[in-house]
Protein backbone atom coordinates (compact mmCIF):
# COMPACT_ATOMS: atom_id res chain seq x y z
CA UNK A 1 0.00 0.00 0.00
CA UNK A 2 1.42 3.34 -1.01
CA UNK A 3 0.25 6.43 0.79
CA UNK A 4 1.60 8.71 -1.85
CA UNK A 5 -0.65 9.43 -4.78
CA UNK A 6 0.48 6.91 -7.41
CA UNK A 7 -0.53 9.14 -10.27
CA UNK A 8 1.69 11.88 -8.96
CA UNK A 9 4.58 9.48 -8.54
CA UNK A 10 4.22 8.29 -12.14
CA UNK A 11 4.14 11.83 -13.40
CA UNK A 12 7.20 12.66 -11.36
CA UNK A 13 9.02 9.71 -12.90
CA UNK A 14 8.09 10.70 -16.45
CA UNK A 15 9.29 14.20 -15.85
CA UNK A 16 12.59 13.11 -14.35
CA UNK A 17 13.24 10.67 -17.19
CA UNK A 18 12.51 13.41 -19.69
CA UNK A 19 14.92 15.71 -17.86
CA UNK A 20 17.65 13.08 -18.08
CA UNK A 21 16.97 12.60 -21.79
CA UNK A 22 17.11 16.35 -22.28
CA UNK A 23 20.43 16.57 -20.48
CA UNK A 24 21.88 13.89 -22.72
CA UNK A 25 20.44 15.73 -25.71
CA UNK A 26 18.25 12.85 -26.82
CA UNK A 27 15.11 14.94 -27.05
CA UNK A 28 14.75 18.56 -28.09
CA UNK A 29 13.74 21.21 -25.58
CA UNK A 30 10.20 21.64 -26.91
CA UNK A 31 9.47 17.95 -26.40
CA UNK A 32 10.72 18.17 -22.84
CA UNK A 33 8.48 21.15 -22.25
CA UNK A 34 5.53 19.20 -23.64
CA UNK A 35 6.23 16.28 -21.31
CA UNK A 36 6.66 18.62 -18.38
CA UNK A 37 3.43 20.43 -19.18
CA UNK A 38 1.52 17.16 -19.50
CA UNK A 39 2.93 15.84 -16.23
CA UNK A 40 2.49 18.59 -13.69
CA UNK A 41 3.77 17.25 -10.39
CA UNK A 42 1.72 18.38 -7.42
CA UNK A 43 4.04 16.90 -4.80
CA UNK A 44 5.94 19.13 -2.42
CA UNK A 45 9.62 18.40 -2.97
CA UNK A 46 11.97 21.06 -1.60
CA UNK A 47 15.65 21.52 -2.29
CA UNK A 48 18.01 19.11 -0.50
CA UNK A 49 19.24 21.77 1.96
CA UNK A 50 15.75 22.81 2.87
CA UNK A 51 14.97 19.11 3.25
CA UNK A 52 17.78 18.72 5.80
CA UNK A 53 16.51 21.76 7.68
CA UNK A 54 12.94 20.53 7.70
CA UNK A 55 14.13 17.12 8.90
CA UNK A 56 16.06 18.59 11.84
CA UNK A 57 13.27 20.92 12.86
CA UNK A 58 10.69 18.14 12.68
CA UNK A 59 12.86 15.96 14.91
CA UNK A 60 13.07 18.82 17.41
CA UNK A 61 9.30 19.27 17.37
CA UNK A 62 8.64 15.54 17.76
CA UNK A 63 11.09 15.05 20.61
CA UNK A 64 9.88 18.16 22.43
CA UNK A 65 6.28 16.98 22.11
CA UNK A 66 7.35 13.65 23.54
CA UNK A 67 9.06 15.45 26.40
CA UNK A 68 5.92 17.43 27.09
CA UNK A 69 3.82 14.26 27.17
CA UNK A 70 6.32 12.65 29.52
CA UNK A 71 6.10 15.68 31.81
CA UNK A 72 2.31 15.55 31.89
CA UNK A 73 2.18 11.83 32.48
CA UNK A 74 5.17 11.64 34.79
CA UNK A 75 3.41 9.18 37.08
CA UNK A 76 3.07 6.59 34.35
CA UNK A 77 6.84 6.27 34.19
CA UNK A 78 6.85 4.31 37.41
CA UNK A 79 6.12 1.13 35.50
CA UNK A 80 7.40 -0.39 32.29
CA UNK A 81 3.89 -0.85 30.94
CA UNK A 82 3.16 2.81 31.42
CA UNK A 83 6.15 3.82 29.38
CA UNK A 84 5.33 1.17 26.80
CA UNK A 85 1.85 2.61 26.28
CA UNK A 86 3.17 6.15 26.04
CA UNK A 87 5.60 5.09 23.32
CA UNK A 88 2.92 3.19 21.40
CA UNK A 89 0.42 6.03 21.59
CA UNK A 90 3.02 8.58 20.62
CA UNK A 91 4.15 6.46 17.67
CA UNK A 92 0.53 6.22 16.59
CA UNK A 93 0.09 9.99 16.73
CA UNK A 94 3.25 10.54 14.74
CA UNK A 95 2.05 8.05 12.17
CA UNK A 96 -1.28 9.85 11.86
CA UNK A 97 0.58 13.12 11.41
CA UNK A 98 2.72 11.47 8.73
CA UNK A 99 -0.31 10.26 6.78
CA UNK A 100 -1.89 13.67 7.08
CA UNK A 101 1.23 15.45 5.86
CA UNK A 102 1.51 13.13 2.89
CA UNK A 103 -2.12 13.03 1.88
CA UNK A 104 -3.33 16.54 2.41
CA UNK A 105 -0.09 18.51 2.23
CA UNK A 106 1.36 16.34 -0.56
CA UNK A 107 4.83 16.18 0.93
CA UNK A 108 7.12 13.81 -0.91
CA UNK A 109 10.62 13.36 0.51
CA UNK A 110 10.39 16.82 1.93
CA UNK A 111 12.26 16.17 5.17
CA UNK A 112 9.08 16.41 7.21
CA UNK A 113 7.81 13.02 6.09
CA UNK A 114 11.29 11.50 6.42
CA UNK A 115 11.59 12.71 9.98
CA UNK A 116 8.10 11.60 10.97
CA UNK A 117 8.63 8.17 9.45
CA UNK A 118 11.89 7.64 11.30
CA UNK A 119 10.41 8.94 14.52
CA UNK A 120 7.38 6.67 14.29
CA UNK A 121 9.63 3.68 13.62
CA UNK A 122 11.92 4.68 16.45
CA UNK A 123 9.12 4.87 18.97
CA UNK A 124 7.68 1.54 17.81
CA UNK A 125 11.10 -0.06 18.24
CA UNK A 126 11.42 1.56 21.65
CA UNK A 127 8.01 0.23 22.65
CA UNK A 128 8.93 -3.25 21.42
CA UNK A 129 12.13 -3.07 23.42
CA UNK A 130 10.33 -2.22 26.60
CA UNK A 131 7.58 -4.76 25.96
CA UNK A 132 9.98 -7.64 25.44
CA UNK A 133 12.12 -6.53 28.33
CA UNK A 134 15.29 -6.11 26.31
CA UNK A 135 15.57 -2.62 27.71
CA UNK A 136 14.11 -2.13 31.13
CA UNK A 137 13.15 1.44 31.80
CA UNK A 138 13.13 1.22 35.57
CA UNK A 139 16.67 -0.08 35.73
CA UNK A 140 17.90 3.17 34.36
CA UNK A 141 16.10 5.30 36.85
Amino acid sequence: MIVYNENSLDRLMFKEEAAIALRRQLIPKNEFDAVAAANVVDLYRPNIFIRIGLFLVTVVIASMSFGLIILVTADALDSDTGFFWICIIFAFFIYVALEWIIQSKRHYRSGVDDALLWNALGFIVAAANIFTGITRWNNHC
Binding site: A21, V35, A38, P46, G53, L54, G67
Partner: protein, 319 residues
Protein backbone atom coordinates in the same frame (compact mmCIF):
# COMPACT_ATOMS: atom_id res chain seq x y z
CA UNK B 1 8.11 6.46 -22.47
CA UNK B 2 5.76 4.69 -24.83
CA UNK B 3 2.94 6.48 -23.11
CA UNK B 4 4.48 9.82 -23.89
CA UNK B 5 4.97 8.85 -27.53
CA UNK B 6 1.37 7.73 -27.79
CA UNK B 7 0.23 11.07 -26.46
CA UNK B 8 2.35 12.72 -29.13
CA UNK B 9 4.63 14.42 -26.66
CA UNK B 10 7.77 12.81 -27.98
CA UNK B 11 8.51 12.29 -31.64
CA UNK B 12 9.42 8.86 -33.03
CA UNK B 13 12.95 9.93 -33.85
CA UNK B 14 13.54 10.96 -30.27
CA UNK B 15 12.17 7.64 -29.07
CA UNK B 16 14.57 5.77 -31.30
CA UNK B 17 17.43 7.91 -30.12
CA UNK B 18 16.61 7.25 -26.48
CA UNK B 19 16.30 3.51 -27.06
CA UNK B 20 19.60 3.47 -28.89
CA UNK B 21 21.33 5.46 -26.18
CA UNK B 22 19.94 3.16 -23.51
CA UNK B 23 21.18 0.05 -25.28
CA UNK B 24 24.75 1.25 -25.75
CA UNK B 25 25.18 3.13 -22.55
CA UNK B 26 28.75 3.45 -21.37
CA UNK B 27 29.48 2.99 -17.74
CA UNK B 28 31.43 5.97 -16.52
CA UNK B 29 34.13 5.39 -13.94
CA UNK B 30 35.42 8.94 -14.07
CA UNK B 31 34.45 9.81 -10.52
CA UNK B 32 35.51 6.43 -9.18
CA UNK B 33 38.97 6.95 -10.62
CA UNK B 34 39.17 10.44 -9.21
CA UNK B 35 38.06 9.26 -5.78
CA UNK B 36 40.67 6.52 -5.80
CA UNK B 37 43.36 8.98 -6.78
CA UNK B 38 42.33 11.34 -4.02
CA UNK B 39 42.07 8.56 -1.46
CA UNK B 40 45.40 7.21 -2.64
CA UNK B 41 47.15 10.46 -1.85
CA UNK B 42 45.51 10.74 1.52
CA UNK B 43 46.40 7.14 2.36
CA UNK B 44 49.94 7.59 1.10
CA UNK B 45 50.55 10.60 3.32
CA UNK B 46 48.98 9.05 6.39
CA UNK B 47 50.70 5.71 5.77
CA UNK B 48 54.06 7.38 5.41
CA UNK B 49 53.35 9.27 8.58
CA UNK B 50 52.67 6.10 10.54
CA UNK B 51 55.64 4.26 9.04
CA UNK B 52 57.99 7.07 9.90
CA UNK B 53 56.54 7.48 13.36
CA UNK B 54 57.15 3.83 14.14
CA UNK B 55 60.74 3.91 12.94
CA UNK B 56 61.65 7.29 14.27
CA UNK B 57 64.61 5.96 16.26
CA UNK B 58 66.40 4.40 13.31
CA UNK B 59 65.79 7.05 10.72
CA UNK B 60 66.45 10.28 12.50
CA UNK B 61 64.65 13.58 12.26
CA UNK B 62 66.83 15.34 9.73
CA UNK B 63 66.45 12.60 7.15
CA UNK B 64 62.70 12.63 7.51
CA UNK B 65 62.54 16.38 7.25
CA UNK B 66 64.73 16.31 4.18
CA UNK B 67 62.55 13.65 2.60
CA UNK B 68 59.39 15.59 3.25
CA UNK B 69 60.96 18.76 1.94
CA UNK B 70 62.15 16.94 -1.17
CA UNK B 71 58.73 15.49 -1.85
CA UNK B 72 57.09 18.83 -1.29
CA UNK B 73 59.57 20.67 -3.50
CA UNK B 74 59.17 18.03 -6.18
CA UNK B 75 55.42 18.44 -6.18
CA UNK B 76 55.56 22.20 -6.38
CA UNK B 77 58.26 22.02 -9.03
CA UNK B 78 56.05 19.81 -11.16
CA UNK B 79 53.13 22.18 -10.68
CA UNK B 80 55.29 25.17 -11.51
CA UNK B 81 56.43 23.57 -14.75
CA UNK B 82 52.98 22.50 -15.81
CA UNK B 83 50.81 25.26 -14.51
CA UNK B 84 48.48 27.01 -16.90
CA UNK B 85 49.08 30.73 -17.49
CA UNK B 86 47.84 33.09 -14.86
CA UNK B 87 44.39 34.53 -15.21
CA UNK B 88 41.82 36.09 -12.95
CA UNK B 89 39.13 33.79 -14.29
CA UNK B 90 38.68 30.18 -13.42
CA UNK B 91 41.52 28.08 -14.76
CA UNK B 92 41.14 24.42 -15.65
CA UNK B 93 43.93 22.14 -14.63
CA UNK B 94 46.19 20.95 -17.45
CA UNK B 95 45.73 17.24 -16.76
CA UNK B 96 44.06 14.85 -14.41
CA UNK B 97 47.04 14.44 -12.09
CA UNK B 98 47.83 18.09 -11.65
CA UNK B 99 45.26 18.73 -8.93
CA UNK B 100 46.35 15.74 -6.94
CA UNK B 101 50.03 16.46 -7.14
CA UNK B 102 49.31 19.96 -5.96
CA UNK B 103 47.27 18.51 -3.13
CA UNK B 104 50.16 16.25 -2.20
CA UNK B 105 52.48 19.24 -2.25
CA UNK B 106 50.22 21.23 0.06
CA UNK B 107 49.85 18.34 2.47
CA UNK B 108 53.57 17.71 2.67
CA UNK B 109 54.23 21.40 3.14
CA UNK B 110 51.88 21.42 6.09
CA UNK B 111 53.52 18.31 7.50
CA UNK B 112 56.92 19.88 7.05
CA UNK B 113 55.99 23.04 8.90
CA UNK B 114 54.29 21.19 11.72
CA UNK B 115 57.22 18.81 12.02
CA UNK B 116 59.68 21.68 12.25
CA UNK B 117 57.59 23.37 14.88
CA UNK B 118 57.08 20.29 17.02
CA UNK B 119 60.59 18.91 16.79
CA UNK B 120 62.83 21.95 16.68
CA UNK B 121 60.46 24.65 17.78
CA UNK B 122 61.67 26.77 14.89
CA UNK B 123 59.00 29.41 15.15
CA UNK B 124 59.90 29.86 18.75
CA UNK B 125 57.76 30.61 21.73
CA UNK B 126 57.67 34.32 21.38
CA UNK B 127 53.98 34.51 22.14
CA UNK B 128 53.85 31.52 24.37
CA UNK B 129 53.87 28.19 22.61
CA UNK B 130 50.29 27.19 23.26
CA UNK B 131 48.68 30.20 21.68
CA UNK B 132 51.33 30.33 19.02
CA UNK B 133 50.59 26.91 17.57
CA UNK B 134 46.97 27.75 17.41
CA UNK B 135 47.64 31.07 15.74
CA UNK B 136 50.32 29.78 13.47
CA UNK B 137 48.30 26.87 12.15
CA UNK B 138 45.54 29.31 11.43
CA UNK B 139 47.83 31.83 9.77
CA UNK B 140 50.02 29.48 7.81
CA UNK B 141 46.97 27.89 6.31
CA UNK B 142 45.54 31.27 5.54
CA UNK B 143 48.75 32.35 3.87
CA UNK B 144 48.82 29.22 1.79
CA UNK B 145 45.26 29.86 0.87
CA UNK B 146 46.05 33.38 -0.27
CA UNK B 147 49.12 32.28 -2.21
CA UNK B 148 47.13 29.56 -3.89
CA UNK B 149 44.32 31.90 -4.68
CA UNK B 150 46.78 34.31 -6.27
CA UNK B 151 48.48 31.57 -8.23
CA UNK B 152 45.16 30.51 -9.67
CA UNK B 153 45.45 26.90 -8.63
CA UNK B 154 42.02 25.39 -8.85
CA UNK B 155 42.43 23.11 -5.88
CA UNK B 156 42.74 26.02 -3.49
CA UNK B 157 39.12 25.23 -2.75
CA UNK B 158 40.21 21.97 -1.25
CA UNK B 159 43.18 23.41 0.58
CA UNK B 160 40.97 26.05 2.07
CA UNK B 161 38.55 23.43 3.18
CA UNK B 162 41.14 21.27 4.83
CA UNK B 163 42.97 24.11 6.45
CA UNK B 164 40.21 26.16 7.89
CA UNK B 165 38.09 23.17 8.77
CA UNK B 166 40.67 22.44 11.43
CA UNK B 167 40.05 25.70 13.21
CA UNK B 168 36.37 25.44 14.10
CA UNK B 169 36.93 21.78 14.93
CA UNK B 170 39.65 22.78 17.35
CA UNK B 171 37.33 25.21 19.01
CA UNK B 172 35.17 22.30 20.05
CA UNK B 173 37.72 19.56 20.49
CA UNK B 174 40.37 21.34 22.46
CA UNK B 175 37.65 22.93 24.55
CA UNK B 176 38.85 26.33 23.59
CA UNK B 177 35.51 27.72 24.55
CA UNK B 178 37.37 28.89 27.61
CA UNK B 179 39.70 30.89 25.46
CA UNK B 180 38.25 34.27 24.65
CA UNK B 181 41.10 34.96 22.27
CA UNK B 182 40.16 32.31 19.76
CA UNK B 183 36.59 33.53 19.68
CA UNK B 184 37.69 36.99 18.66
CA UNK B 185 40.26 35.52 16.30
CA UNK B 186 37.43 33.56 14.74
CA UNK B 187 35.33 36.66 14.37
CA UNK B 188 38.24 38.48 12.75
CA UNK B 189 38.99 35.61 10.39
CA UNK B 190 35.35 35.33 9.47
CA UNK B 191 35.04 39.02 8.68
CA UNK B 192 38.24 38.83 6.66
CA UNK B 193 36.93 35.92 4.62
CA UNK B 194 33.61 37.62 3.98
CA UNK B 195 35.44 40.75 2.88
CA UNK B 196 37.62 38.65 0.60
CA UNK B 197 34.53 37.11 -0.90
CA UNK B 198 33.05 40.53 -1.56
CA UNK B 199 36.31 41.81 -2.92
CA UNK B 200 36.81 38.92 -5.30
CA UNK B 201 33.29 39.24 -6.65
CA UNK B 202 33.47 42.99 -7.02
CA UNK B 203 36.84 43.05 -8.71
CA UNK B 204 36.21 39.84 -10.64
CA UNK B 205 39.43 38.40 -9.21
CA UNK B 206 38.96 34.67 -9.05
CA UNK B 207 35.32 35.19 -8.35
CA UNK B 208 34.69 31.45 -8.43
CA UNK B 209 36.39 31.27 -5.05
CA UNK B 210 33.99 33.70 -3.51
CA UNK B 211 31.58 30.94 -2.55
CA UNK B 212 34.34 29.13 -0.66
CA UNK B 213 35.36 32.29 1.17
CA UNK B 214 31.81 33.19 1.97
CA UNK B 215 31.01 29.68 3.13
CA UNK B 216 33.90 29.51 5.57
CA UNK B 217 33.43 33.10 6.60
CA UNK B 218 29.82 32.39 7.45
CA UNK B 219 30.47 29.20 9.40
CA UNK B 220 33.38 30.63 11.36
CA UNK B 221 31.53 33.85 12.14
CA UNK B 222 28.42 32.07 13.34
CA UNK B 223 30.35 29.50 15.38
CA UNK B 224 32.46 32.22 17.03
CA UNK B 225 29.35 34.21 17.74
CA UNK B 226 27.59 31.28 19.37
CA UNK B 227 30.77 30.34 21.24
CA UNK B 228 30.96 33.91 22.49
CA UNK B 229 27.38 33.68 23.62
CA UNK B 230 28.02 30.49 25.57
CA UNK B 231 31.37 31.61 26.92
CA UNK B 232 30.70 35.13 28.14
CA UNK B 233 27.99 34.00 30.44
CA UNK B 234 26.86 37.31 31.77
CA UNK B 235 26.75 39.08 28.42
CA UNK B 236 24.81 36.54 26.43
CA UNK B 237 22.15 39.09 25.57
CA UNK B 238 24.79 41.37 24.05
CA UNK B 239 25.98 38.63 21.71
CA UNK B 240 22.52 38.47 20.28
CA UNK B 241 23.19 41.76 18.50
CA UNK B 242 26.12 40.59 16.33
CA UNK B 243 24.26 37.36 15.73
CA UNK B 244 21.22 39.18 14.42
CA UNK B 245 23.40 41.46 12.30
CA UNK B 246 25.06 38.39 10.80
CA UNK B 247 21.73 36.72 10.19
CA UNK B 248 20.49 39.81 8.41
CA UNK B 249 23.62 40.11 6.29
CA UNK B 250 23.68 36.47 5.22
CA UNK B 251 19.94 36.49 4.67
CA UNK B 252 20.44 39.24 2.11
CA UNK B 253 23.33 37.27 0.59
CA UNK B 254 21.31 34.08 0.41
CA UNK B 255 18.48 35.89 -1.34
CA UNK B 256 20.91 37.65 -3.66
CA UNK B 257 22.62 34.48 -4.85
CA UNK B 258 19.47 32.41 -4.22
CA UNK B 259 21.37 29.81 -2.24
CA UNK B 260 19.37 27.21 -0.33
CA UNK B 261 22.49 26.20 1.56
CA UNK B 262 23.12 29.63 3.08
CA UNK B 263 19.47 29.94 3.94
CA UNK B 264 19.49 26.66 5.82
CA UNK B 265 22.72 27.37 7.69
CA UNK B 266 21.71 30.83 8.82
CA UNK B 267 18.31 29.58 9.91
CA UNK B 268 19.85 26.82 12.01
CA UNK B 269 22.51 29.04 13.59
CA UNK B 270 19.98 31.74 14.34
CA UNK B 271 17.61 29.19 15.79
CA UNK B 272 20.28 27.82 18.12
CA UNK B 273 21.30 31.29 19.26
CA UNK B 274 17.84 32.69 19.79
CA UNK B 275 16.62 29.51 21.48
CA UNK B 276 19.59 29.67 23.83
CA UNK B 277 18.73 33.21 24.85
CA UNK B 278 15.04 32.46 25.28
CA UNK B 279 15.74 29.33 27.30
CA UNK B 280 18.06 31.29 29.55
CA UNK B 281 15.44 33.97 30.01
CA UNK B 282 12.75 31.40 30.77
CA UNK B 283 15.01 29.73 33.31
CA UNK B 284 15.07 32.99 35.24
CA UNK B 285 11.58 32.15 36.43
CA UNK B 286 12.57 29.10 38.32
CA UNK B 287 9.48 27.15 39.14
CA UNK B 288 7.68 23.96 38.19
CA UNK B 289 6.12 25.18 34.96
CA UNK B 290 9.38 26.33 33.39
CA UNK B 291 10.27 23.01 31.81
CA UNK B 292 6.92 22.64 30.12
CA UNK B 293 7.12 26.24 29.02
CA UNK B 294 10.50 25.61 27.40
CA UNK B 295 9.19 22.55 25.61
CA UNK B 296 6.16 24.43 24.41
CA UNK B 297 8.48 27.14 23.17
CA UNK B 298 10.46 24.60 21.18
CA UNK B 299 7.35 23.07 19.66
CA UNK B 300 5.92 26.45 18.68
CA UNK B 301 9.20 27.83 17.38
CA UNK B 302 9.90 24.57 15.56
CA UNK B 303 6.62 24.83 13.71
CA UNK B 304 7.40 28.43 12.89
CA UNK B 305 10.84 27.51 11.53
CA UNK B 306 9.20 24.75 9.50
CA UNK B 307 6.82 27.21 7.88
CA UNK B 308 9.65 29.70 7.43
CA UNK B 309 11.81 27.17 5.60
CA UNK B 310 8.93 26.13 3.38
CA UNK B 311 8.24 29.76 2.54
CA UNK B 312 11.92 30.45 1.84
CA UNK B 313 12.07 27.42 -0.40
CA UNK B 314 9.25 28.86 -2.48
CA UNK B 315 10.82 32.28 -2.52
CA UNK B 316 14.25 31.06 -3.63
CA UNK B 317 12.77 28.74 -6.20
CA UNK B 318 10.92 31.59 -7.85
CA UNK B 319 14.11 33.54 -8.46
Amino acid sequence: LNNCTKQGLISDQSLDRIKKAESEKLFSIHWELRTFLYLGILLLTSGLGILIYKNIDTIGHQVILALIALLCAGCFFYCERNKPPFSFEKVNSPNAYFDYILLLGCLTLLTFITYLQVQYNVFGDRYGLATFIRWSSCFIVLTILIILACFQWPIANLAAWMGIAVTPLRIFKANNFADAQIIFAGLLLGVLLVLMARFSTLKKLKSHFSFTYLNFGMNILFISCLAGMFHFDSFYLLWLIPLLVLVYYFYRQAIAISSFYFMLMLTLYAYVGISYVITRLLLLFDNFGTTSLIMMYFIASGIYILLFLIRMNKKLKKQ
